[in-house]
């Protein structure tokens, strides 16, 4: 099944140009694993950049550059990092497994009843990336965000004012509106969430979430 909710065109441009943050790149690569259409969009931007590269004015290169490169051909490559396990179910796309391994082996941290999380070790950034395990039928308490929050659904689904979001769908919530998500009945929802900053809860329960999750 193809996703129905896609990241905006500027994310595809940013991924192709290498201007996104690591957290945004991660969420986009995970979405593109599940979305042939957005893969084609990134590809189109890369092809356009390649065409434009070929038209750039040449810059002088170091006099011995070619010989220097030919002299390095025998260099050993750094040992490739062992591939993350790909066995078991296919819940997590490879870009996510590269950070936390297989879904079946995750140790979830308790946040509050119905909500568990794994924090992804994304390097030096102010954008926390978390994988959430959300119980069916759960109402996520009202909160507002500082800046954007981006959600990629990997299993189950949730519904908010923008519609229903299932596997592969990307939801974007900005800080301008209160946002209420309800996890749909029947199936656990697994969601990758990239936030610009800590959640700012509006209710006592929300404050508990914020406190427990260390946000």
């Amino acid at each position: 099944m193809m996703p129905n909710h896609h990241p905006p065109a500027e994310w595809l441009l940013g991924h192709a140009s290498g201007t996104l943050t690591e957290a945004e790149d991660l969420l986009l690569a995970a979405h593109c694993t599940l979305c042939p259409d957005c893969r084609a969009g990134v590809r189109a931007q890369e092809e356009a950049a390649g065409a434009a590269l070929a038209d750039l004015a040449p810059a002088p290169v170091g006099a011995g550059a070619l010989d220097a490169i030919l002299g390095r051909l025998g260099e050993q490559e750094a040992a490739p990092t062992p591939p993350a396990p790909s066995s078991g179910t296919r819940v997590l796309p490879q870009p996510v497994r590269d950070y936390i391994g297989a879904f079946e082996a995750l140790s979830w941290g308790f946040v509050m009843p119905g909500i568990r999380q794994v924090v992804l070790p994304v390097s030096h950034e102010q954008m926390p990336v978390r994988l959430f395990h959300l119980a069916p039928g759960l109402d996520i308490p009202l909160h507002t965000h500082q800046g954007l929050e981006r959600t990629l659904v990997l299993a189950g689904s949730y519904t908010d004012q923008d519609g229903t979001f299932a596997r592969g769908d990307v939801g974007i919530q900005d800080g301008s509106a209160d946002h209420r998500q309800r996890i749909d009945d029947g199936e656990v929802c697994i969601a990758l969430v990239v936030a610009d900053g800590p959640l700012v809860p509006r209710t006592a329960a929300g404050r508990v979430i914020s406190w427990l999750s260390g946000a």
């Binding site: 500027e10 441009l13 592969g168």
Partner: protein, 184 residues
């Protein structure tokens, strides 16, 4: 199948027979352009640009066997290697799609843009870029070559962020339309 274009032939010669003369030709054509790209992205840092250019061209040699001319042109492939060298230099991880991922959702609807030969695609994308309104193409160039975010472009040009975003959306539609894909 049309014959692969000359630069692709050179890359294949490097891959098949470690052909140094072919590599020298590739170097002559691409190294100065990769260097220009890196100079612009690093705001004129000569030493870093030279270092990353050499890193990029070394990868062109070492990864030549992975070049697939049916999946894009030589300059597209080399652009992505140079871009990745820049990201790796910032010492962060570089999440990307793994084509062999069991979770990958394959494209079951063959599109014209994938059927077109690499040479055709290169011509079409070049024409589409040249045909974009300037207010759209300057945004793409600022992203590719200056590494600007849309917010920076918006501030630089004094144009509202929403307008910059919609211009990117229009440009994307034009590029994909030219490649025969869905202009969504």
């Amino acid at each position: 199948m049309s014959a692969p274009p000359p630069t692709a032939v050179l890359i294949q010669a490097v891959a098949r027979s470690a052909d140094k003369a072919a590599f020298a030709q590739l170097f002559e054509e691409f190294a100065p352009r990769v260097k220009r790209f890196l100079l612009r992205r690093t705001r004129g840092n000569e030493n870093l640009s030279e270092e990353l250019m050499q890193e990029t061209m070394l990868k062109v040699w070492k990864k030549s066997a992975h070049f697939d001319h049916t999946r894009g042109g030589a300059s597209t492939w080399i652009f992505t290697i140079a871009r990745n060298a820049l990201i790796d230099h910032s010492r962060r991880k570089r999440p990307e799609v793994d084509e062999s991922d069991p979770a990958l959702v394959a494209d079951t609807s063959p599109r014209a843009d994938q059927a077109a030969s690499e040479a055709e695609r290169a011509v079409r994308v070049r024409e589409a870029l040249a045909g974009l309104p300037e207010q759209q193409s300057v945004i793409l160039h600022a992203a590719y070559f200056e590494g600007r975010t849309l917010r920076e472009i918006s501030e630089q040009q004094g144009v509202p962020l929403g307008t910059v975003k919609s211009r990117v959306r229009l440009a994307m539609g034009r590029l994909r339309g030219a490649l025969g894909g869905l202009a969504s």
